[in-house]
């Protein structure tokens, strides 16, 4: 059975929590005691019917105020697939949460309220999914029951969105599905109310869509997490480099280079606790041993000589700014990239992006919370990196404020 990680994005009141509650409920992932708790709360609050959205509201403030704070993760399984949902709220710190949820997702569901059609927020969600390189986007046109299940309305929304999406640089695969999360139309079961819709239900689509693996299996990349040196008689000479493959395939006998030192060697074994492996590829966690004793430590990267990453101290990147304090140029940060941490200075802000219109902003270059744009960074020591488009692991980084230790930005290398 395989695993699909997806994120859900929507505006306030578009029924996102109801949709997730519906997916969990109709796929029988809700247990009796959870449902009983929700029924009790719904009754106490005086709801007309059991509010499925309550299934996903975790914290007390959320239940009381009927809002969602922070990214929450949900799990369900069908006989075909296991699913991890990163459920991101629509209002506070929206961009920050969606970027977080999208960073580990392979598919995004964007909800559109059929009564409102494609609005600014829809475009913003699509832009972010695109920026984070999510390859599959499902446009769930919700609340079809409130527009009399009108095919015309649905077709108009579809055309409007396609028009907008054609302006995104990294065009993704889009699937449109008309639903009513409240009534369950086309969520798990096919709707009788929309005979004109011939496509799959949302759940069937999630279960069967072919998801290209997010991993890169071409360029070999192995960021070293830690060095394993057992001090035991049995394993006296063992010196292994533990890490999770970030790209490509590693096999015993392969010629490799350790970066940044440039020392060359060959792979002696791909070690695991269950015995040596024939090969390792992303996203497996293994331990590599080499033929030669060379100096390698955490933060170094083992690669192959024929397709090395870029190595350097100057980066161009798109960032999303998370902090309440605005970004000032010349500010110094800790930059965490793979297993390496270096000091970094933001040298220049190239531009910001108006994520509703996709226009570049060049007259206001101050990054405030939730702003997205392009910057130039200089690091204190070399990084071994790829573009984010090529490899999501070796192409991403975070910036940490050295005074507060807060994570203040997410970066995608261009």
């Amino acid at each position: 059975m395989d695993l699909l990680r997806f994120t859900t994005a929507g505006s306030v009141d578009d029924g996102k929590s109801t949709l997730i509650g519906r997916l969990l409920y109709d796929s029988k992932s809700i247990f009796e005691d959870q449902l009983a708790a929700v029924e009790r709360f719904s009754q106490k609050r005086g709801d007309a019917r059991v509010d499925l959205a309550l299934l996903t509201d975790g914290l007390r403030a959320e239940r009381e105020q009927g809002i969602t704070i922070d990214v929450a993760y949900r799990y369900f399984a069908t006989p075909r697939r296991k699913f991890i949902i990163a459920d991101t709220p629509g209002h506070i710190q929206y961009t920050r949460n969606m970027v977080t949820g999208a960073s580990t997702a392979n598919l995004a569901i964007i909800l559109i309220d059929a009564r409102k059609g494609v609005i600014e927020q829809t475009c913003r969600h699509a832009f972010l999914a695109n920026l984070l390189r999510i390859q599959h986007v499902v446009l769930a046109v919700n609340k079809m029951d409130l527009v009399d299940y009108s095919e015309e309305t649905y077709e108009r929304i579809k055309a409007d969105f396609s028009d907008f999406a054609s302006r995104l640089e990294n065009l993704v695969e889009m699937t449109f599905i008309p639903i009513s999360a409240l009534n369950g139309d086309n969520v798990v079961d096919k709707s009788d109310a929309m005979p004109w819709y011939k496509g799959p239900t949302l759940l069937y689509h999630l279960e069967t869509v072919y998801v290209r693996p997010g991993e890169n299996h071409v360029e070999a990349r192995f960021p070293v997490q830690t060095v394993i040196r057992p001090h035991s008689d049995e394993w006296h000479d063992f010196r292994g480099y533990a890490g999770r493959v970030a790209g490509g395939v590693f096999k015993p006998g392969d010629a490799v280079v350790a970066l940044p030192s440039g020392f060359q060697s060959r792979i002696k074994s791909v070690h695991s606790a269950d015995g040596d492996l024939q090969e390792a590829f992303a996203p497996l966690s293994v331990t590599l041993t080499l033929e030669d004793e060379i100096d390698i430590s955490r933060g170094d990267m083992i690669v192959k000589p024929n397709n090395p990453p870029e190595t350097g101290q100057d980066l161009e990147a798109m960032i999303c700014w998370f902090s309440e304090r605005p970004l000032s140029t010349r500010a110094r940060f800790a930059l965490r990239h793979t297993t390496r941490e270096v000091a970094a200075i933001v040298k220049d802000v190239r531009y910001k992006v108006n994520i509703n219109t996709l226009h570049k902003i060049e007259d206001d270059l101050v990054f405030r919370m939730n702003d997205i744009g392009r910057i130039a960074i200089r690091t204190s020591a070399p990084l071994m990196f790829d573009s984010y488009a090529k490899n999501r692991i070796t192409g991403s980084f975070i910036l940490i404020d050295e005074a507060t230790n807060e994570t203040v930005a997410a970066g995608m290398i261009i």
Partner: protein, 305 residues
Amino acid sequence: MSTFHRYQISHLQQLESEAIYVLRETAAQFRNPALLFSGGKDSIVMAWLARKAFHPARMPFALLHVDTGHNFPEAITYRDDFVTLIGARLVVALVQDSINQSRVAEEKGPRASRNKLQTVTLLDAIADNKFDACLGGGRRDEEKARAKERFFSHRNDFGQWDPKNQRPELWNLFNGRKHEGEHFRVFPLSNWTEMDIWQYIQQENIPLPSLYFSHQRRVFRRDGSWLDAETGFANPQPDEPIETRTIRFRTVGDVTCTGAVESTASSLDDIVAEVAAARQTERGTRADDQRSESAMEDRKKEGYF
């Protein structure tokens, strides 16, 4: 097609690989981490993964058991055997010590439990041993407050969790930086479900305490589950008659708040089938979560596991 299929791995391999990555990051980013070990199945799986993550070296963590004193004897026997099997070092922090030192007061009444007192013992053990990170077996599918947890969860210098002000966690980049006196809770099993845990135990053939398997036990009924009447830690009231039932435990913790379910599942295969058909969450038998709608959230904010 063949190249595509070659690089597919199962969901258990994905979860295993992710957990090992998190365990190694914890070892690399902290000076003195500990692994919270209760003898329950989640902490058993976590310790098993820690053994794998650093093989053939020993895991660079101590196992920390916060012991309420209200244990199932089987769980303690198991704990000591398992620690030997995986070659780890065990540190035990006793709630009884916290009571003797008047750090906490024993709850009173028929439903008295030491579950809540553990928080103080845990925070004291963290301070005394200078642990800067504690690995916990918590899973996001367990409980709704846990659905919002990070892999690396920051705790302030009072050991408290602030759910409204968590660090965003992007890709697999974990920010474990902290100020003096603060610490982290790390949850390598965040993305596992109860089913994944059981399937993994089955796949790896991990030994478990006998409590998880069907057996006859003298029990009494309280709040919809069966509580143990053999160890003497839980106090049946006059209207709670003791009877012998065929039961098993779905979680293993403090005797006073760990309820059993009636079950004839005596093998891992049986249990996986039972879990697949279950209509109650495993925490449905935990009296500690049923004290209120936000019981877990409140305890977590105070510094609970």
